[in-house]
């Protein structure tokens, strides 16, 4: 074999492969459904998005394509292609990325951005471009205003006030059963979300006749939470409620354990239902209450959790993760239901149909889901939904005296 022959052969082989690949990619381009995804990969909210948002995008793409894609009315299955953008937790960049996805990348659909602020900022642009927007991590009391203004914007995870009231109502029930006392310590992180939640909860606690023995707020950048735990313990509460963010959720839990706080019920908010919480504290947080929840014994959740770990290598959280995946399932089922990529028809379909999701059966009323988990509890290494707005199936009974 001489060198020229080898070079020629290699050249032809390369050319052939190139043509084949080129042809394949041209073919794929024609048939794939282009889905845009924009959320933080950097900036303050990158951590939350890395748990709740991005792994679900990966999982969804994997699942849909493993089936061969979405079945449209032309009788063919179309694979989905994800186009990702990092908005750096900057709403201006979220808006810009949505524009870019619609105009430059010609995305057929765009997944709702992560977090309340970024989602609300981009809702007008989704509306103007005519894309349906199924929100998950946008928790706001302004749902009625939003759905009034924007025709294709949907909400799934809940509204601020009912979520904050969930824990207060649950405590009232437990008090009636004689499980908890009357004295409440209520603390909150002094940032938009924590303030809204704390104010809503305070109203219910007061209306239910609880005695608020200690209330305070602390800055989001807090390093040392021991003064808060000290003061709370000095007030001798029966119930400790903290509307906290991820870093302080962990810090408060740890400090309460270190100082040996003994209460009938201990509640922290955001990230309590994260797998990292139980990984860090193990059995010691058995009985702790937290925001949101799922039914972790539900077969469809178990199946979802198994696939999530298998495909992405990480566990889903016990609240917004499954909701996020369910919102993608809604989009998927609506596209297949319509049988085409007609966005207006898909929006109409979402409004008028029932969806079978990992979170159970979903039907949108006034563009939002009305029945959702508000409060849950760690029970033997799993986080169970306990309270919900209209009675979710599979609600667990709280375990007390831990």
């Amino acid at each position: 074999m001489n060198r020229t022959f080898l070079t020629k052969t290699l050249g032809i082989a390369a050319l052939a492969t190139g043509l084949a690949l080129g042809g394949a990619s041209a073919l794929a381009q024609e048939n794939t459904i282009r889905i845009g995804a924009v959320a933080p990969k950097t900036g303050p909210l990158a951590g939350g998005a890395a748990v709740t948002f991005w792994p679900n995008v990966e999982l969804w793409q994997h699942e849909v394509n493993a089936r061969g894609g979405l079945l449209l009315s032309d009788g063919n299955r179309h694979r989905i292609e994800i186009i990702e953008y990092d908005d750096r937790t900057d709403p201006s960049e979220t808006i810009r990325s949505v524009q870019r996805l619609a105009n430059n990348d010609r995305a057929d659909f765009i997944l709702a951005p992560y977090s309340t602020g970024l989602a609300l900022a981009s809702a007008p642009i989704f509306d103007r471009l005519g894309y349906p927007m199924i929100n998950v991590s946008a928790i706001t009391d302004q749902v009625p205003t939003m759905v009034n203004r924007y025709d294709g914007v949907f909400f799934t995870l809940g509204q601020t006030t009912p979520i904050a009231q969930g824990v207060a109502r649950l405590m009232a029930e437990l008090r009636e059963q004689g499980q908890v006392g009357n004295r409440v310590a209520l603390v909150n992180v002094a940032d938009a979300f924590g303030i809204e939640l704390a104010n809503a909860a305070r109203g219910i606690f007061e209306a239910e006749g609880f005695e608020l023995v200690y209330t305070t707020s602390y800055p989001p950048t807090i390093q040392d939470v021991s003064p808060i735990i000290n003061s709370a313990m000095a007030a001798n509460p029966d119930i400790f409620v903290a509307f906290s963010y991820p870093p302080d959720t962990f810090a408060l839990t740890e400090q309460a354990q270190v100082q040996g706080m003994e209460v009938d019920a201990f509640y922290t908010a955001v990230a309590t239902n994260f797998p990292a919480y139980v990984n860090r504290f193990g059995d010691s947080i058995n009985g702790n209450f937290g925001v949101g929840g799922v039914n972790p014994d539900d077969p469809s959740f178990l199946e979802y959790e198994r696939k999530h770990i298998e495909v992405t290598g990480s566990s889903p959280d016990f609240w917004a993760s499954a909701y996020t995946y369910a919102s993608f399932e809604v989009l998927e089922q609506a596209i297949e239901g319509v049988g085409s990529l007609d966005r207006a028809a898909v929006t109409e379909y979402i409004k008028n149909n029932t969806f079978d999701t990992v979170m159970g059966e979903w039907r949108f009323e006034d563009q939002h889901i009305k029945n959702y988990w508000t409060v849950g509890q760690w029970q033997n290494g799993r986080f169970y939904g306990i309270g919900s707005t209209e009675g979710m199936p599979g609600a667990a009974t709280p375990i007390m005296g831990q």
Partner: protein, 314 residues
């Protein structure tokens, strides 16, 4: 007024009128989402340079004024007509700058930089404290019918205004005084210039503009929260763009804002996962190769061209 100034006074408004037709172009939505940040940063960076250019006081307080403007909008939107809110924001921005200025413009150099950076954070904490104790359950939402095109036009109008104000200051006694202060503050004081008052006046101008920009931009974000309204990144970007463009000319920051936005757009759309890394490298390259800013380079070309032309004639 020189002939050059008269030509400028005619050409600049004409350029702005031409730019105002951008929203009627086809596919304008896409252009607007690029043009709005450029216009916003041009206004912010130019008004920043009106103060920081001649005085050499690097202010990182832009986010503080911007955030105050955004909250002014969120607080009074339901109560007051929109133009009144614009005016109030300008007044609040100016008064805020005056208070801060009188307290701090005696500081010089790095102390002032650090103070202004802290100011944005402090303002943010004050707003959080207020919202926490008196704000009630609602976050701040800005629901309006103001469109992207209208936001763009307002920013253009502000841009024109900031150029007029900058040009007027440049040829006024105040501008003259401030250039002397920039060159040597001690000499200025000994020549009988009221240095503190001059500096505070300019700081007020830049504060007022930043606050008004905050009002104008608020409807775009619908949901106003302190972390976003008082984002320190904004202060840094404004300073970077102004320095990139060059602060010795009024049109310098414009030369910074446009290439910065275009490079950013190119990087963000082609390398979405490495945006900040590549932007950092791009910025290092710029600082290393064009230390005098884009305006300096453009002026260099202009002089070369003129010299070449002169040779031909001579």
């Amino acid at each position: 007024m020189t002939r050059k100034e008269i030509i400028g006074l005619i050409l600049v408004p004409v350029a702005f009128i031409i730019l105002a037709f951008l929203p009627s172009l086809p596919n304008s939505a896409n252009l607007l989402s690029l043009a709005i940040p450029i216009a916003m940063f041009t206004v912010l960076a130019t008004s920043w340079a009106i103060f920081s250019g001649p005085t050499h006081y690097i202010s990182l307080a832009t986010a503080a004024f911007y955030g105050v403007g955004a909250y002014t909008m969120a607080t009074w939107l339901d109560v007051l007509p929109y133009p009144v809110i614009l005016l109030i924001a300008a007044v609040i921005g100016a008064v805020f700058a005056a208070v801060v200025g009188f307290a701090t413009l005696r500081l010089s150099g790095v102390y002032f930089v650090i103070f202004t950076l802290g100011l944005a954070e402090m303002t943010r904490q004050v707003f959080v404290w207020y919202q926490n104790n008196f704000g009630g359950t609602r976050g701040h939402y800005v629901f309006t019918d103001i469109t992207e095109a209208q936001i763009y036009w307002q920013l253009l109008a502000l841009g024109l205004l900031v150029y007029l104000v900058g040009w007027w200051i440049g040829r006024s006694r105040l501008g003259f005084a401030i250039r002397i202060i920039g060159a040597d503050e001690l000499v200025a004081r000994h020549s009988g210039i009221h240095t503190a008052r001059s500096k505070v006046l300019l700081f007020m101008v830049s504060g007022a503009f930043a606050a008004v920009v905050g009002v104008v931009m608020a409807p775009r974000f619908v949901y106003i929260e302190p972390a976003m309204a008082f984002n320190p990144q904004l202060s840094f970007l404004v300073a970077i763009m102004a320095l990139l463009g060059g602060i010795h000319r009024l049109w310098g920051p414009l030369m910074g804002a446009i290439p910065f936005a275009l490079v950013w757009e190119f990087i963000a759309s082609n390398f979405p996962a490495q945006t900040i890394l590549l932007m950092g490298i791009a910025f290092l390259v710029v600082v290393y190769y064009i230390p005098n800013g884009v305006a300096g380079v453009v002026e260099g070309w202009y002089h070369k061209l003129k010299a070449a032309g002169g040779e031909k004639h001579g």
